[in-house]
Every structure is written in C-alpha cells, then in structure tokens.
C-alpha cells in the first residue's frame, strides 16, 4: 500500500471538489432545466418563447438601456473624480479616496432606503420617472466600484511620460488625450465590467424605489416566486451568455481590481 504523503498540491483538492460541485454542477443543471419542460422532456420552447415574446424582448432592451446609461453616468462622474483625486496635490490622498469609496461598505439596502426617502421628497411620486429613478438608483449603488479602479490606474501612471509630452510641446489637453486617457483604459474597462452587468440584473434596486418596470434580473425573480424553474433557468442561461460575451469583449478585465476592494481597506 502506498502511504499518502503530504504535498502542497493536494491542499487544493477540497477547493477543486467544492468548485466542481457548487460552481460547475449548478450551471450544468441550469442548462438541463432550461432545455426541458415540466415533464422532463427536451424542449426549446423556453428559448424560442423568450425571443418571440415582445414583453421579454422589451425587458432585454430595457435592461440594456438602463445598464448602458448607468455605466455612462458612472463613468462621467467617476473619471473626473478619480482623475482630480489622483493628480491633485492634496495631502493624504488615500484618506480622500477612502471617503469616496467608504459608502460601499454600508449595506446597500440601507443606502437605497435613504435614496428612496430623498427621491420621494423631491419627486413626490416615484412612479412618475421609472427610467430616471432606475439610473439614479443604480448609479448611487455602483459609483464607488467605478471610482476605485480608475483611481488605481491613474495614480500608477508614470508622471515622467506627461512631462516628456509637455517638453515635446504638447499642451495640457493634448497630453491628457494622448497619454493619460489611453493609459487609463484598463481601469475604465475594469470599472465598466463592475457596473454594467449588475445594472442589468440587480432588480432589488428597482423594487426598493417602488419601480414596477422589469429588468432581466426581475424575470428570474418572478419565475422563482412562481416556482417555474424551467423558465427561470432559461433567463439565467441567457444572462450567462450575455456575461460571457461581455467578459470576452472586455478581455477579462483585471480581477485584481475586484479583490482590491477588500485590499483598499487593509
């Protein structure tokens, strides 16, 4: 009998099994449920149903619109903020950055409650501007996730490059457009990937703002409440496809930025 010998490699086995059981297997089950009906027979009607129903197609377009506008608004707010913070000569920049991103450690449901109360005070009836409120809510929730990665890339930029550009005759605007902006694209991509997908799926933000419009996530929620696992699985699968396409398109934005959210604290 061969005696088992400790090796560093074998330490990973429990996690490998865990990933297979609870990450890979659920996705396979999702595929099975998406392509079967209540009697367990193979069917594509869940798929064709989604793409022929004007309601679900409308929801898909509406989610894309909300996600795109939210991402754009976040970018327009976050980029200048990150740029001003990273290039300013403020003392203790790190403290200022922490102040800007600290809100993400406050439970989102409590922040949404606050936003709901304030919006109700301003607008009277929240049902009047569902699209606007959805974008404001998502922006309020996800803005710190856009500021952090952009700040990180800009603050890591080599200042000598900008000086060199200026020595060679570029003015401030040209130096920004030719040096800073292109070099901060990785941070932008990271931020976009952390805002766009949640904005398509995080339907509880809409729920909390008394918003009765549907995004893709809401469809899963309503199938879940109706115990319709097959319909819900198909929506989840379609979302998964969108996520994969999006991830490949952004070329697997640097995961270290996501882990950095914890690192910023420590």
């Amino acid at each position: 009998m061969k005696t088992w010998k400790f090796s560093r490699k074998s330490l990973g086995i429990p996690y490998a099994v865990f990933l297979l059981l609870f990450v890979a297997l659920p996705l396979l089950v999702l595929v099975y449920y998406a392509f079967t009906n209540g009697e367990g027979h193979f069917t594509v009607s869940n798929l064709t149903g989604f793409f022929t129903d004007p309601n679900t197609l409308g929801t898909l377009c509406y989610s894309f619109a909300i996600a795109a506008v939210t991402t754009l608004v976040c970018l327009l707010l976050a980029y200048p903020t990150a740029y001003i913070l990273a290039t300013s000569n403020l003392k203790r920049k790190q403290v200022w950055l922490l102040i800007f991103i600290m809100s993400m450690w406050i439970n989102f449901s409590l922040r949404m409650t606050a936003l709901k109360e304030v919006l109700t005070l301003i607008e009277g009836n929240l049902a009047r501007y569902p699209f606007l409120n959805a974008v404001v809510g998502m922006t309020y929730d996800f803005l710190p996730f856009m500021i952090l990665p952009i700040y990180n890339t800009i603050s890591r930029l080599d200042g000598a490059l900008i000086e060199a550009a200026k020595d060679l005759g570029a003015n401030d605007t040209a130096a920004f457009l030719k040096i800073t902006l292109p070099l901060s694209v990785p941070g932008i991509i990271s931020g976009v990937s952390m805002v766009f997908l949640p904005a398509m799926t995080n339907y509880v933000v809409l729920d909390m703002l008394y918003n009765s419009t549907y995004i893709m996530g809401s469809l899963i929620g309503s199938y879940f409440s109706a115990y319709n696992w097959h319909g819900g699985s198909m929506i989840a699968l379609i979302l998964l496809a969108i996520i994969i396409v999006f991830t490949v398109a952004t070329n697997g934005a640097d995961d270290s930025d996501r882990a950095g959210i914890g690192g910023a604290l420590l």
Partner: protein
C-alpha cells in the same frame, strides 16, 4: 479658477454619495415618519432598534452567517490558492477558470443556480441553512483565492526550499514559511469575504430559510411593508452602521499608516 471647478465637482459627487444617508441619519433622531416632516427630536427609533427582538435576531444572524461563511471561504480559498499555485500549469488553469465564474457571474444567476441544484434537484431543505451557507461560501471563496494568489507570487521560493534542506517536513515548512508570508492576503481576503456576505441580497433570497432574515432581506421587506415603527428604526440602524464603518475604515487606515511609517524608518536606517 480652474482649481475651484475641480473642487466644486468632487464636492458635488461627495454630496450625491453622502447626502441621502446623512439626511436619513438626521431624521433618525426625530419622531418624523417621513423625511421632510420634522417635528421633535426623539430617540425612540434607537429604543425600538435595540429592544425589538426580531431586529436583534436578524442582526446577530447576519453577523454569524457572515463570520461563519467567511471563515469557511477563507479556509477553502486559501488552501485552493496554495494548491493551485504549486500545481501544474493545466491544473492551475482549471482552478483559475472555475474560480472566475462566481466572480464575474451575476449574483442573481449564482443564487438561482445554487437553489436549483441544492433545493430543487437534491431536495435539501432550505431550513437546514446548508444551501444558504454553501451559497455564501461560493460567493466569497473566489475572492479569498484572488487575494492570496498575488502574495504567493511575490514570495521568494528559495526560503521554502531552504527550510526543506534544513530538515523541515513539507507540512512544517508550509506552516512556518509559506503561511506567514501570505497572511496579509489571507486577512484581506477574510475581510472582503465578510463585506460580501454582509452586503449580499440575492443569494440569501434564493437559499435562506423562510423564517431567517439577513439585514438586506429584512430591510427590503420592511420598505415594502407598512410598519412605520420598524421602517424608522431602520434609519437608526443606518446611523449605527455608518458610524461602525467609518470607525473601521479610520482605524485600519491609521494602522496602515503607522505600519508604513515603521517600514520607512527601517528603510532609512538600513
């Protein structure tokens, strides 16, 4: 002049981020039932917050769930990272790609798929808490893995080899050489796991027992309900959490700054 515009802009963003929560905190100290309808100062929201059994249970439950699943996630994620780092390239790719799935996936999809597998297919009752804990470990462990891997890469591999040459068993060398060097990654992974679990709504909704609530699910249900006393007591909870988060951020910043100063001083001595 240009400088003034910059500060006006970041001040505007700060107001957008903090005004709602600060206004809510202000009204938590009054007897108002809607913001804007201010009458008298009162601490009754704080009395309700600290004396209502259901709220206390839900807060304790949320914290226990976060600490428990973060601890499990740290164990799995750290061991996984070490195993993956010392495995062949192919096996490393296997870990890397599966680990990535929950990170980029939408929480709705993660929660729903775990619910389908564990509850619908395997028939595990949600009341056992097993689906909830597994769901939260799936949510958190990949981030622990991602925080530990860079520390392993920064490590000098020859120290481990030296320990073996000097007669340490691999287990001993791992414990006294590798673990101390990656401990900062483990700690920040654990902290990140806690914040992820505390903030989660979707995985809890799809996997939690009917009678159990986390802060997120409780608050979401309370805003839909009509119980004004509970609703305004949650404003007080926002104030408490705001202060706790601000304190933790301040303390960890100050400790970080001190550690940095010590490092600088040592470097200038050397």
């Amino acid at each position: 002049m240009k400088k003034a515009w910059k500060y006006i802009f970041i001040a505007f963003v700060l107001i957008f981020i903090y005004a709602p929560i600060l206004i809510l905190i202000f009204y938590s100290f009054t007897d108002a039932t809607n913001i804007g309808a201010f009458r008298n100062f009162s601490l009754h929201n704080y009395v309700t917050l600290f004396t209502t059994e259901a709220i206390r249970e839900m807060i304790i439950g949320t914290i226990c769930l976060a600490v428990g699943s973060a601890a499990l996630a740290t164990l799995f994620g750290t061991a996984g990272a070490i195993g993956s780092f010392y495995s062949s390239r192919k096996a490393g790719m296997f870990y890397e790609s599966l680990n990535k799935v929950p990170v980029i996936n939408a929480d709705v999809v993660t929660g729903f798929s775990i619910c389908i597998l564990l509850v619908v297919v395997l028939g595990i009752s949600k009341e056992t808490y097993i689906p909830l804990v597994i769901g939260h470990v799936v949510l958190c462990a990949p981030f622990v893995y991602l925080s530990v891997i860079p520390k392993l890469k920064q490590m000098d591999p020859s120290i481990y080899e030296a320990a073996l040459d000097l007669g340490a068993t691999p287990a001993k060398a791992l414990r006294s050489i590798v673990i101390p060097q990656i401990s900062s990654g483990i700690v920040s992974g654990f902290a990140l796991a806690i914040t992820l679990s505390l903030d989660d709504y979707f995985i809890a909704t799809y996997t939690k027992p009917a009678t159990f609530d986390t802060i997120s699910t409780y608050v979401v249900n309370a805003t839909k309900g009509q119980q004004t006393a509970i609703k305004t007591a949650l404003w007080a909870l926002s104030a408490v959490i705001f202060v706790v988060v601000a304190l933790i951020v301040a303390i960890s910043y100050l400790r970080g700054a001190r550690a940095e100063n010590v490092q600088k001083a040592e470097r200038s001595k050397a």
